[in-house]
Symmetry: C2
Subunit: 160 residues, 2 copies
DNA sequence: GCACGGTCCTTGACACGACAACTGATCCCA
DNA sequence: TGGGATCAGTTGTCGTGTCAAGGACCGTGC
C-alpha cells in the first residue's frame, strides 16, 4: 500500500464546498418543482430533454444517457410519467428491442408552463450570484470533472 | 406573471454540466466506499466529521448541519451506525433534550482504514484533473452558490 | 436455419431519504 | 409555579433509486 497523498487545506475546503452543493442542490430543485408543478427535478429534466429532441422523442438508452440515469431508474420514471399522460412509449419498428419515449402534447404543455419558474430558481441559486467569468470557469471545471466521472461521455454535454 | 429571463447558451451549458456532476458524483463516491468499506458516502462523511470534532463527538443538530442533512435523516443513519458499533449516542447531562454522537474506537479505526482509498477517489475524479487555480475558482464558485442554497450558513463551511 | 453472445428494456425486492406526527425537555413570562 | 411556545430528537410511512435477474430481440458463425 502506497502512502496516501492527502489533500492540502485549500483542496479540502473546495472539496467540502462541492460536497455541500451536491448534497443541497437537488433538494432545492426538487422542492420548487414539486411545489409548483408536482414534478421531481429528474422528471422535469426527462421532459426537458425530450422537448429538445427531434420529434420530441428519444430511445430509452439515449434518454438515460442525456439525463445521467441508469436504465432501470429511467424505466421506472418513464412508466410513472406515462401513467400521468406526459410521455408515451412507442416500440420501434426497425428494432423491436428499442422503446422510444415521446413527449405528449400534455407533456409539452406541462414543461412550457413549468420552465419559467424553474429557470428562475436556477438563476436565483446558481447563475445570478456568479459573474460571466465565473460561469465560464464553472463550465470548464465541471467539464473536466465529468471527463473523469463519465469517461464515455455518454451525455454528450461535453465538447472536449 | 413577468416575462421569464431565459438562460443564454453559455449559462445553459454550464448549468447542464453542473447538473451532470450533481447527478453522477454521488454514485461514484457511494460505489467506491460501498465496495471498499461497506459505507455510503454520507455515512463516511458523518464519521469523518466526528473524527475531526473535539472529543470525537458532536450533538446531533450540529452534526446534521455539518453534513448538510436533515435531522430525521441523520437520526436514521446514526441509528444504523450505532448498531454497527461505529458510533454511540450519549444523552447530554446539561440539556437532556440533547444527544451527543460519539465516534467509537471501532469507528475511528474504520475511518482511518477507509480514508486513504476515499481520498484517492476524490483526487482521481475531482482534484487531480484541476489546476491549483481552478481549485481556487471552484472554492469561490461553490461558496457563492452555497450562500444562496443555505443562507443560514448552517454548515460553517463558508467563511463569508 | 439455428444457436449463442450481446443489446435493450422491464420487473421485483430491498435500502435509503423526505415528510409529518409525536415525545420529552427547556424556556419564558405572567 | 404553572402553562404555552419552542426546541431536540425519534419514529413510521411513503416515494423513489439501486441492484440483480429476467425476457425479448438482434446478429453473426457455422
Amino acid at each position: 500500500m502506497t502512502e496516501p497523498r492527502w489533500l492540502d487545506e485549500t483542496q479540502l475546503d473546495a472539496w467540502k464546498r462541492l460536497v455541500s452543493v451536491v448534497e443541497l442542490l437537488p433538494g432545492v430543485l426538487d422542492s420548487q418543482l414539486r411545489r409548483d408543478a408536482g414534478l421531481s427535478h429528474f422528471e422535469y429534466y426527462v421532459l426537458a430533454m425530450l422537448s429538445e429532441a427531434p420529434d420530441r422523442s428519444l430511445r430509452m438508452t439515449r434518454l438515460a444517457a442525456k439525463t445521467d440515469a441508469t436504465l432501470p431508474r429511467l424505466s421506472h420514471v418513464v412508466a410513472r410519467l406515462e401513467e400521468r399522460g406526459l410521455v408515451e412509449r412507442l416500440p420501434s419498428a426497425d428494432d423491436r428491442r428499442v422503446t422510444n419515449a415521446h413527449l405528449t402534447d400534455a407533456g409539452w404543455d406541462k414543461i412550457v408552463a413549468t420552465a419559467p419558474g424553474h429557470v428562475e430558481t436556477v438563476r436565483t441559486h446558481v447563475v445570478d450570484p456568479l459573474t460571466d467569468e465565473e460561469i465560464g470557469q464553472l463550465d470548464t471545471i465541471a467539464g473536466k470533472i465529468l471527463e473523469r466521472l463519465d469517461p464515455e461521455n455518454r451525455t454528450g454535454v461535453r465538447r472536449t
